[in-house]
């Protein structure tokens, strides 16, 4: 891989939740404009990897370079201002905020975010419900809100944690289209997915995680050649 063009470069990342050691040296990189997916079984450390890159984990060591800049010593609010944003697995919609307030909550960190009109164009459902309480939305709408609100901020690297979890096929399809469109617009996306079929339709490359480490990597083009191995890794 062309190292010079890596937008995000993670080396030897270790992370702890209190006493428990979750990540044991994670290595991977994401190039500008790519969609990269982390695969792996439950508990492999995928979510923890995203949170660690974002600085949301209490203790982390190793190296996380963003645009060539070391972020391992920074707090998550400083990291956000470099242009990273997360859409967490539990979606993190705020119950005490309405839809519009939820959407407008994350502050602008850099110029070049999507205008609100364009977010409503991507997710028309949201526009009809701007005064509803955030958590009164359906699961799919909450997911759209969770993705939509980080598109405004000017962040260029979007980390989406299982955006299709628990959603109906038609909404999964809509989220797939959205990811494709965001990629077209130049966003870089780091995805965590259990839904391998979905991931294979949107991702350029895959990393496989197990026991807090990256154990394998391949491009979408080599997918069929790696199918057997993948079934082993994921136990499907």
């Amino acid at each position: 891989m062309d190292e010079a063009r890596a937008l995000l470069e993670v080396k030897g990342l270790q992370a702890w939740y209190g006493e428990s050691h979750i990540l044991h040296g994670v290595d991977f990189s994401v190039r500008e404009g790519e969609v990269v997916t982390l695969l792996g079984r439950n508990g492999a450390g995928k979510t923890t990897t995203l949170k660690s890159v974002m600085g949301m984990i209490g203790k982390r060591t190793g190296s996380v370079l963003y645009e060539g800049r070391e972020t391992i010593g920074l707090t998550s609010d400083r990291i956000a201002h470099l242009g990273l944003a997360i859409c967490p697995e539990e979606r993190g919609i705020f119950a005490s905020l309405n839809v519009l307030e939820n959407l407008m909550l994350p502050p602008q960190v850099r110029p070049g975010g999507l205008p609100v009109e364009q977010i409503f164009e991507l997710f028309p459902n949201l526009k009809e419900r701007i005064t509803s309480q955030g958590t009164k939305l359906s699961g799919g709408e909450q997911q759209m809100l969770a993705i939509g609100r980080i598109l405004r901020t000017g962040a260029r690297l979007l980390m989406l944690d299982e955006p299709t979890e628990g959603l109906a096929p038609v909404i999964i399809q809509q989220i797939g289209h959205t990811i494709a469109r965001l990629k077209q617009q130049g966003f870089t996306i780091l995805l965590v997915e259990q839904n391998f079929r979905f991931a294979s339709t949107v991702a350029d490359r895959f990393y496989v995680m197990e026991h807090g480490r990256v154990i394998d990597a391949f491009a979408n083009a080599d997918l069929s050649a790696n199918m057997d191995k993948l079934h082993d890794y994921l136990g499907v």
Binding site: M56, S76, D77, I79, A80, I86, P88, G92, M104, P106
Partner: protein, 291 residues
């Protein structure tokens, strides 16, 4: 038509409204602090007292009048609060409520003890500002101007605070950070700074109540200790962390206390606690509390 007893009734209602103003300002500060810091701020009464003493010193040492004290005392006490938060309370983040309660209780005892050591237990007089002396004869009762001012001003401050928290962008940050500080921080908001400012604002409200109270109740080292127990009952009844709940409950219980003083004076000191016990049995999260 208006005999002595109706006059007495309205007089007690007014006392109730005044007390309600202090309950509302103090429980509002407690609610804001609890929401954001998860700390039951037992130092609140002591800082209310410090606010009153600030006004006293500003006037008697520096010759700064009531109106300036109304702004300066909350700022000074707010700054003191932020220093306490940065040096002590911050270390308790993530621990059980009990630790914050014990720490702030200890702080309250120290602050009150220091003031008692220097000023004893008797009250120091603080004059009503000249512009607010006198009163209005409303026919059915005599309304002192200063008391009317306290009620109107407290209500205005409470409603402005409610508006700022529930309807503005800054308030949206506050509400969101109350729910999920980690995520709000990951969006790029400096949440620790927000927490410090919130504590400063909450105790600033207490200091404001202290300044308002100085011309009515005199300035005494234990003025907060006496009040804060009732205020905590108000907070429990309204529901910890509810903004409008603490305002409504504060005024309502003040009025209820006043009415009790008129109809059944023997119960006036206990009525708030009886209601607290009833509310705890029926609705443990408080009347306005979210589960």
């Amino acid at each position: 038509m208006f005999n002595i007893s109706t006059q007495a009734l309205f007089a007690q209602l007014l006392v109730g409204l005044i007390n309600g103003s202090f309950y509302a300002l103090l429980s509002l500060g407690l609610a804001v602090i609890f929401g954001m810091l998860n700390i039951i701020n037992f130092a609140h009464g002591a800082l209310y007292m410090v606010g009153a003493f600030c006004a006293y010193f500003l006037l008697n040492v520096l010759g700064i009048n009531y109106w300036a004290a109304l702004i300066l005392a909350p700022l000074l006490v707010g700054a003191l609060g932020m220093a306490l938060e940065r040096t002590m309370l911050q270390r308790l983040a993530g621990l059980d409520h009990l630790y914050g309660l014990l720490l702030t209780f200890g702080l309250a005892l120290i602050i009150q003890g220091l003031f008692q050591n220097y000023f004893g237990s008797s009250g120091l007089p603080y004059a009503i500002p000249q512009q607010l002396t006198g009163g209005q004869n409303l026919g059915f009762m005599f309304l002192p101007n200063y008391r009317a001012w306290v009620v109107v001003f407290s209500l205005t401050v409470c409603l402005a605070t409610w508006y700022a928290i529930e309807k503005t962008k800054l308030g949206a940050y506050l509400r969101a950070a109350t729910e999920n500080p980690t995520l709000v921080r990951a969006f790029g908001v400096n949440v620790p700074r927000m927490i410090t400012l919130t504590y400063g604002f909450g105790v600033g409200l207490a200091a404001l109540a202290g300044v308002l109270s100085a011309p009515i109740n005199q300035v005494r080292p234990l003025m907060g200790a006496d009040l804060i127990i009732v205020v905590f009952a108000v907070v429990v009844i309204g529901g910890m962390g509810s903004i409008m709940g603490s305002i409504v409950t504060g005024f309502a219980l003040g009025i209820l206390e006043g009415l009790t003083k008129y109809f059944y004076p023997e119960a006036s000191n206990t009525v708030v606690f009886v209601i607290m016990a009833l509310v705890l049995m029926v609705k443990p999260n408080g009347l306005f509390g979210r589960a």
